[in-house]
């Protein structure tokens, strides 16, 4: 599957959809095949410092399970029914050979499921590099700085060893530049959706974002920039929809059908935490000095508030949701978490209390990446939207 530069909205979305649906990761395989020295490494959700992977010349590939497109044959034998769906579909991808092109896997400290999956991978695939990425959880950002710098340096060194490249500050800065461009274009897309959501349906935006999980950063920036231009050039009809943010889907991803359902039920999604890792850092790492330090500093001092990062400020949970709603100029919140997702579901009562304290209407539901029936969600989201329109959600 090649990614020639489609320029119309339909073409771009079509390209992105093909990438999304392709569980064989053909784009990654093609990128690897273009040069026998190239390597790729898988990155589990939520946050992996992709800059240090890319700086080594290794393609970071986002691994998000198989969604509703993968039949689970072996994965279920590895997980009890009360564990979320994501790890079983990742195991399925692995055992079915679909991840064989990867030279390694990075498992961030998102939760204990992903943490334990890192150990499982060490056993399942002893021939590949496996690392648990212990993103620091700290009260004071400065506390974790040295630690995180050490982790970044180790991962960078290991990635260079995989790729057969030499570590260098230039390469790190170049990778940081690339990811700054990624963050920038994502930021512009999200801003446009916030301001004129009829121009950027979330179903499309999501597909474009997913392309960023498998394409080299410059290719993604091209695609996303082309999409941004197409959004301006080919506006869609404006509707009288309710503006909502979707919170809690940062790891196991909702099926595309669920995103479509929310939109079709009369909601513009004007903020979300889908694929949050690609914008976890909120400010470009500061230039000058040591690139590893800059990257470490950016995460610890300037990251998105998220269920997977410790929140040192006791009042922040309540304030966070209000800020998110205000920033998106949303009318309400849809808490949509994967079933059995500890980070999202343990956070929810705190966030919800914060929303309610500010009179922000909200609804909550659980999904699984392979949920196939959306009727119930349609009704819930539709009623929610109507009630906000009629009574401001009261």
């Amino acid at each position: 599957m090649t990614t020639e530069r489609p320029r119309t909205r339909a073409d771009i979305v079509d390209t992105a959809r093909r990438l999304y649906e392709d569980l064989e990761f053909t784009a990654v395989r093609e990128w690897l095949a273009a040069d026998p020295d190239r390597k790729a490494v898988g990155c589990l959700p939520v946050y992996v410092p992709r800059e240090v992977v890319w700086a080594a010349g290794v393609l970071p590939v986002g691994i998000h399970g198989g969604g509703d497109r993968l039949e689970i044959i072996r994965g279920d034998a590895y997980y009890q029914s009360y564990i979320c769906h994501l790890p079983r579909s990742v195991v399925e991808l692995g055992l079915s050979g679909r991840l064989d092109m990867l030279s390694g896997m990075l498992f961030p400290s998102t939760c204990d499921v992903i943490r334990n999956l890192s150990g499982m991978w060490q056993i399942l695939r002893p021939e590949v590099y496996v690392r648990y990425v212990d993103v620091p959880q700290v009260e004071h950002p400065a506390t974790g700085l040295e630690f995180w710098k050490g982790e970044l340096s180790t991962i960078y060194r290991d990635m260079c060893a995989i790729a057969g490249t030499e570590p260098s500050d230039e390469a790190l800065w170049a990778a940081i530049d690339d990811y700054d461009r990624v963050r920038d274009v994502i930021g512009r897309l999200y801003a446009l959706r916030r301001d004129e959501p009829w121009k950027v349906p979330t179903e499309e935006l999501y597909l474009v974002m997913r392309a960023g999980e498998v394409l080299p950063p410059p290719d993604f920036v091209d695609l996303a920039t082309a999409y941004l231009e197409a959004c301006h050039a080919e506006p869609l009809r404006r509707r009288d929809n309710t503006r909502v943010i979707v919170v809690g889907s940062f790891c196991e991803q909702p099926p595309l059908g669920l995103i479509k359902t929310i939109e079709r039920a009369g909601c513009y999604i004007v903020g979300d935490d889908f694929l949050l890792g690609n914008r976890m850092i909120t400010r470009p790492p500061e230039r000058g000095g040591d690139p590893v330090e800059a990257l470490a500093h950016a995460l610890l001092f300037h990251h998105q508030p998220s269920s997977v990062m410790y929140e040192p400020d006791p009042d922040a949970k309540e304030v966070t949701i209000k800020k998110m709603v205000d920033a998106a100029r949303a009318d309400g919140v849809i808490f949509a978490a994967a079933s059995f997702c500890d980070p999202a579901l343990l956070d929810r009562p705190m966030l919800r209390a914060g929303a309610e304290a500010h009179g922000i209407p909200c609804i909550a539901f659980k999904f699984s990446e392979n949920t196939g029936q959306f009727q119930q969600f349609r009704e819930q989201a539709g009623t929610f939207s109507d009630s906000i329109k009629l009574w401001g959600g009261a």
Binding site: R74, D76, A77, Y78, Y79, Q80, Y82, I83, P87, S109, T110, C111, D112, V113, R115, N116, L117, S118, G119, M120, Q122, I123, L124, R131, Y132, D134, P136, Q137, V138, E139, H140, T143, G144, E146, F147, G150, S307, Y310, E311, P312, P314, K317, S339, F340, C341, D342, P343, L345, L346, D347, R348, P349, M350, R352, A353, K366
Partner: protein
């Protein structure tokens, strides 16, 4: 003959159990009076607890998991969980958290019936479980007190790396100790900490002797159901205290006397001298039907000779001891070495060693719905341990403190089938757990 009788006998207690009960009651009384006596109270979790350090500041530790499990054993958890779920907590998440939140909302009466004091400090030692972080954030919403956080790196590569150890020490020195100084108004006293640590090591020696005693036949202890009592003081408020030392000395003597007399442990159906099955168990127990669960094993003549749950608050049986000559470094090693901070291959190796060194006939996993830290990956642990030891494993499912997930009939059925399979293997029959149709 399995136990002396198949009938439930009047609950008998070892001297150490009575001693422990008194210690716990005394501790909770002190906690209740803390607002009047001015003793400071530090809420913290079991894995990676810094009891010696907390105590060196004259403060009292209070451990929410212990309250939750005790609430489970005393039949209170169902109501508490319902209360938390009414308040918007998901049915999907760890029931310890919900039990604790529900207890708090219901007046914060602790397991011994005394009122629990508010914390003067919330000290999160973030060790081996993600949920702790959220639990801590949730608790923080309820109390207006200082909080302090210790990040303990996970043993992703199977060891606590030197730089990770140094990172923990640095946090202890720069964050945790100043917070304790501030809250208690006392300066850090390293000599006092060393004294506490020396007492910890003494108690740990005795605990390990008790755990190792299960290598005898008959085993004088049950290392899971009995084991949770044995680790109680050392996992909670008493590590490094004189009472802790006395308790473990008494316990060791009691167990050594049983070894000499070739006696088994007391169980819910009496003394289990005739032990038909020696088992290793992985995973936490169920607390709401604890005696019933234990009874299922004891009635079949099954004794647990080693368990991983009894390492959740510290792994001592492979040599680690608190070392008074390196007070903060040893606390870092301790935190890093708690069972759920071990990576999956490390946990598998531990189980493999247990099966082999304790000459077990089988191993059983009790997978609890609550706990991703334990449960995610257990089916793989099962396969690997089977492969490495050549012994088929058993798998049962329940929960910690949510009685809705304890199906006695189902568990009993599985346990009986499993033990029958072991019997058949002895007779040269079925050799694989696949015979039970359990795994794909």
């Amino acid at each position: 003959m399995a136990p002396t009788t198949k009938e439930e006998v009047k609950v008998q207690k070892d001297r150490s159990m009575i001693l422990q009960k008194e210690m716990i009651a005394g501790h909770f009384e002190r906690l209740e009076k803390a607002p009047e006596t001015g003793e400071k109270v530090v809420y913290t979790f079991v894995p990676g607890n810094l009891t010696e350090l907390i105590r060196s500041f004259g403060a009292l530790p209070l451990l929410p998991e212990i309250n939750a499990l005790q609430s489970g054993m005393r039949g209170k958890s169902k109501g508490y969980i319902a209360e938390a779920e009414r308040n918007g907590h998901s049915e999907d998440v760890c029931t310890y958290v919900k039990c604790d939140i529900g207890m708090l909302r219901s007046g914060n009466i602790g397991p011994t019936g005394t009122r629990l004091p508010k914390p003067d400090l919330l000290l999160l030692s973030y060790t081996g479980c993600y949920t702790f972080m959220k639990w801590f954030e949730l608790l923080r919403e309820e109390y207006d007190c200082p909080t302090v956080f210790l990040h303990v790196p996970y043993q992703g590569d199977g060891t606590l790396l030197p730089e990770h150890r140094a990172y923990v020490v640095k946090q202890l020195r720069e964050t945790i100790i100043p917070a304790l100084e501030q809250v208690t108004g006392r300066p850090y006293d390293e000599d006092l900490l060393r004294e506490n640590l020396a007492r910890s090591a003494q108690a740990e020696d005795d605990l390990v002797a008790v755990l190792h005693s299960a290598k005898n036949r008959p085993s004088p202890i049950d290392s899971y159901f009995g084991g949770v009592y044995y680790v109680g003081p050392i996992f909670s408020a008493f590590r490094g205290t004189p009472e802790g030392v006395d308790y473990y000395r008494a316990l060791r003597q009691e167990v050594e006397a049983r070894v000499a007399a070739k006696q088994g442990p007391l169980t819910p159906v009496g003394r289990l001298d005739d032990q038909k099955y020696r088992l290793v168990v992985e995973g936490p127990p169920n607390w709401t039907s604890f005696r019933e669960f234990w009874k299922m094993f004891a009635e079949e003549g099954a004794v647990v000779v080693a368990s991983t749950y009894t390492k959740v608050g510290g792994t001592y049986d492979f040599g680690f001891r608190h070392d008074p000559s390196d007070p903060l470094g040893t606390l870092a090693d301790y935190c890093g070495g708690c069972y759920t901070n071990h990576n999956l291959p490390g946990r598998i190796e531990m189980l493999e060693r247990y099966v082999k060194e304790y000459e077990a006939d089988g191993f059983i996993i009790n997978s609890v719905k609550s706990c991703n830290s334990f449960s995610a990956g257990q089916l793989m642990i099962l396969r690997e341990v089977e492969r490495r030891t050549g012994i088929p494993g058993g798998f049962v499912e329940s929960d910690l403190v949510d009685p809705r997930y304890f199906s006695a009939a189902n568990i009993k059925n599985r346990l009986e089938s499993y033990l029958q399979m072991i019997e058949a293997r002895r007779a040269g029959g079925a050799t694989s757990s696949e015979a039970l149709g359990r795994l794909a």
